[in-house]
Structures are given as structure tokens and as C-alpha cells.
């Protein structure tokens, strides 16, 4: 279906309910859907399971912890090993108030890709012999051990791209594809903030990184400045 264009990020989130499983694209500052994160904060939706590669390291996802909207995070970076200044997520995690499923970043990307690609699981050497393997099937093949990892899907993905056309095709800027491009394939409802909306046909076919079939809603927003705050 052709994507629907929304006027404001708050409207674009219409229908996200308490308890939703939400994927959040971006890598720290790169193509982070910060306007949509702020709208989700204003909306006050609670008991969220958030899937994002990082939380609280310069990205603004940590702000959802201010009103305790996050019940669980599935992430690759969320809690520092060092004793640096804690994010809200870290405080709540250390207090046992939020749940965390820590996933190696490559396994996270591949699980999301699998969720979008109809793959029921895949075998990886990443995590074998570590805490990540706990509770998972380990299969032997060609003299090695492999973890069976399962796909991840979400009810909603909130993403950022650089440009969209009216059909819903997306183009990312620089290192902006990161988790945005994979998450676009793996959620029932895909909502994308972009810096510019152009007429259909203005993005060249080889310039489109996420084909329109994956995109449900688009909203134009000025990007928010975010910055890694060190580790």
C-alpha cells in the first residue's frame, strides 16, 4: 500500500498502545528517529518493549525512562561495564525496574532481518560458550558449535530516513541505513520521519534503500541534534 503522509510526529504514532513492542532505528546519533521518540514520550504509552541497538548512549531513547515507559529493552548496548555516569535506563536496570535482553549487535541485526524475511531461525557462532547461549539450542555442524537464534518482529517500528517519496520509498544519508533499513522489514506498522518528502519518481531506482512496500507512514520533521556522550 502507498504510504500515508502525516503532518506531525504525534499523529503519526496513532494506534500505538500500552504494551507494544517497538523497534527504534538509528545508531547513536546517525539517523535516529528522535522526533518520533519525543512524540512517543509525549504520548505517554507505557509498558513498552523497546528493541534498539543502543539506549542511553547519546541517543534520546533514554528519555522514555523518565516516565518509566519502558518495561523491557532488547539491545546490544544498554548498560556500561564502567562506572561512568549512569543513564536513566541504567539506574532503572540496576534497581531491577526494567528488564534487559542483551543481544550481540550482529545477532540483533540478523534476528531482525530474519523476522522481516520469513526466516524461522539461523545458526551463528556468535555467542557460543557465553552467557548469550543460555537457554538456546546449540547444534553441531562441520565440527563447530552453532547457536540457533530466533527471528525478532515488532508491532511498530519508528525509524528515520533522509528522504522519502510519496509512495513511501526511502533513501538514507551517509551511515543512516544502520538498523533503520532492517527494522523497516520486520514490524507490522512502520513509521518513518524524514527530512524531505519528494514526488514519486524523484528518487532514482538505485538511490532507494528501503522500497515502498515496507513503509506505512511518513512524517516530515527537522532532524534533532543528538550526540554520543561517551562511554
Amino acid at each position: 500500500m502507498t504510504a500515508t503522509i502525516y503532518e506531525a510526529p504525534d499523529e503519526a504514532l496513532d494506534g500505538i498502545s500500552d504494551g507494544a513492542r517497538v523497534m527504534v532505528g538509528g545508531f547513536v546519533s546517525a539517523s535516529s528517529p528522535t522526533n518520533l521518540i519525543f512524540a512517543l514520550k509525549r504520548r505517554g504509552t507505557r509498558n513498552l518493549t523497546v528493541m534498539a541497538t543502543n539506549i542511553g548512549f547519546g541517543d534520546r531513547l533514554d528519555e522514555l525512562c523518565e516516565d518509566r515507559q519502558i518495561a523491557k529493552a532488547i539491545a546490544s548496548f544498554a548498560v556500561r561495564a564502567s562506572s561512568a555516569r549512569a543513564s536513566r535506563f541504567e539506574e532503572q536496570y540496576r534497581a531491577g525496574e526494567v528488564e534487559l535482553e542483551l543481544v550481540p549487535q550482529g545477532t540483533l541485526a540478523e534476528r531482525i532481518r530474519a523476522g522481516g524475511a520469513g526466516i524461522g531461525g539461523f545458526l551463528t557462532r556468535t555467542g557460543v560458550g557465553t552467557q548469550v547461549a543460555e537457554g538456546k539450542d546449540v547444534l553441531s555442524w562441520q565440527g563447530e558449535e552453532w547457536l540457533l537464534e530466533r527471528p525478532l518482529r515488532a508491532d511498530v517500528a519508528i525509524l528515520k530516513a533522509h528522504r522519502a517519496d510519496r509512495l513511501g520509498n526511502l533513501s538514507y544519508r551517509m551511515a543512516g541505513r544502520n538498523f533503520n533499513a532492517v527494522m523497516a522489514t520486520a514490524a507490522d506498522l512502520v513509521i518513518v520521519e524524514v527530512e524531505e518528502i519528494v514526488e514519486t519518481g524523484e528518487l532514482a531506482p538505485n538511490e532507494i534503500h528501503t522500497p515502498a512496500v515496507y513503509v506505512d507512514r511518513i512524517v516530515r520533521c527537522d532532524p534533532v541534534e543528538v550526540r554520543w556522550d561517551g562511554r
Binding site: F27, L108, T124, R125, Y172, M174, F179, V182
Partner: protein, 223 residues
Amino acid sequence: MAAEHKPRLTRELVAMRVAQELAPGSTVNLGVGMPTLVAAFAPPDANILLQSENGILGYGGFSEEAYDQDLVNAGGQPITLNPGASFFDSAASFAMIRGGHIDTAVLGGLQVSERGDLANWSVPERGGGSIGGAMDLAVGARRLIVAMEHTTKDGRPRILRECTYPLTARRCVDLIVTDLAVVEVGPEGLTLREVAPGWAPGEVVTLTDAPLTGPRGVPEMEL
């Protein structure tokens, strides 16, 4: 002077020694922390392709002036691009990493065992830790170099018979470069290859829990 008070290599010197390991034309991923510093010491004419797991191949150096929030490395630092750089998504990036297409990864370490097990993501007594791309890089890179301090702040060895911290991956480390030594991991265990200037092999052995072979006639690092 007691060994524990002798000067050790700075982080920059460790990075400089690691940079000597990078083969011309190779593809290299540098982890956050000390490994990041290696970029500054890679010979510019060696055509090393730096990969960043957030979806960049061929980045250059770090530049605050060039700051663009869509162009950061895996540590969130602003970077520049070399000619021939390319972008891709995270699934494609880790396909590159896990598929064995990275010649060398340099990661920080908390502990390394005599078999080359690595622990670098969690300090259990602090109750935290994040994995990031470390487990994927440890398993996927053809050669793994760990750059770390030889001992903890209170002087306990980080090179151990067995890691006590949660593992990043088993039997993954090929070379350890510390502020005191260069240690190679082989099928028979650890070999002391070089010591920091001014340090005797025996002093390094004392600060190492795992057995080190070849401690006689070990040369000093050339920096």
C-alpha cells in the same frame, strides 16, 4: 625500582605497536576505547580499509571539525571518509564481519585466558556491561588482536589461566598487546614475543597468571 612502579606504555604507544600488525591493503575493524587510537598510527600509504560495524567501509580519521551526526563510527565519534568509502546497513555490516571478510579486528580486553578466550564486556562486581559488536568481531575476524592493560588498577593479572569474567568468545584471540608486552596465543599456549622498553621478561611473567613460554632473550618492542 619495584616492577609495579616502573613506567608502562601509554595508550598511544600500545596503539602504535598494534598498528605495526596491520598488513597493507587489509580490512580492519577497531573497537571502542584504546583500539580506536590505532587509526592514527596506521601508515597512510598502506591502503588499510577501516570498517565500522554501523555500516561504513573506508573511513579515514577522526575529526571534530567535520562533525556530522550521520557520519559517526561504532563509538559514536565523528569521522571522515577516504576515497572509495561505502555505506551499508547493520545486517550487511555484520554479514561482512561474521562471514570472515575482516582481516583484523582490534578489541579492548578485560581478561584473556591461556587458550585465547576473551572477556571484554562485563565486570560482574559492577553488575553491568554491554556486548555491542564485540562477540561478532571476536568470532568473525580472521585475526583478533586484543589491546589492553597488562594488569588491573590494583595490580592483578589480566592474562589468566581461565577468565573469571563472562566470556566474549572462546579461543578467539591471536595476539595480545599490552602496556608491558606482546603475547602470542598459539595452540600450545602463550608465547612472550616482546616486552616494553625497560622491562625484563621475568617482570612481565610475574605480572601474568597464565604460563608464558620463551621468556629468555625476548626483545624489547620497537616503537
